[in-house]
Symmetry: C2
Subunit: 149 residues, 2 copies
């Protein structure tokens, strides 16, 4: 039993295995703040992790209302009858302390899998306190595309 | 003489001839609202047009602080040392009444030019009052990429 909207299968597929999208939060001055983040789906929640106590976390602590937006790659501009698809998940975010490690490992494994075998990169260190995760419970799903049906 | 940040040439090139990006505004409940829009550069301002008096216009009327975000197409997830590029233009928006027609024509011409010759689409009608445009004056430019140097 949930009283919040649930992403349909097409929407869920966008998150497999992870998706880059923009997170909009509210700055102290009441205006929007936007950053690009990698998000996972965990049950019905969106999850992303943080290695530092960034502005977006301070914003969420003050005002948990957020929007996460995915614009899947497409060529062209769309037409008035066939608009460019995108998905916006409005939601309420809660911050969890100390559990960023597994999510970071999961992302870094995926990144590594996309690189040529000879390529390598330095795995960034997780802070001693284990970083932070943000968990977003969807409250409203909007946009254009098959996830709206 | 300006007291606001100016987009550099790499950033300006993203807008040629037009760019799809997401506009974040502030809803009446104080949370973010996000929609995908086509934006032009007009001098140092970002311009987009509206055929209807949409939620984002009502939001801007109440709170003119906005953020416009471009995530250029890229393959992969980036790596910790080479992050996926994106551009966020924070700014103050003002709404202008009645002048959407020329901007709409400009976009529709561009859309038509991308379609195969045999393709056609219905040009949507502009409302009798001429629609609306939003003009965004940048106040802060953030993100990852060559537009940050």
């Amino acid at each position: 039993m949930t009283n919040h909207p649930v992403l349909n299968d097409v929407a869920r597929a966008l998150f497999e295995p992870v998706v880059l999208g923009t997170l909009s939060t509210i700055n102290p001055d009441g205006g929007p703040q936007v950053t690009l983040v990698a998000a996972f789906l965990d049950g019905d929640e969106l999850v992303h992790f943080h290695r530092g106590w960034y502005q977006k976390l301070r914003n969420i602590e003050r005002n948990p209302k957020v929007a996460f937006t995915i614009v899947p790659p497409a060529d062209g501009l769309g037409t008035p009858g066939d608009l460019q698809p995108y998905l916006v998940v409005h939601g309420i975010a809660r911050i969890q302390v100390g559990d960023a490690g597994p999510w970071s490992d999961r992302l870094l494994d995926l990144v590594e899998a996309t690189l040529p075998p000879e390529a390598s990169f330095e795995r960034p260190e997780m802070p001693a306190d284990g970083g932070w995760t943000t968990h977003i419970t969807p409250t409203k799903i909007v946009g254009v595309g098959p996830w709206m049906s």
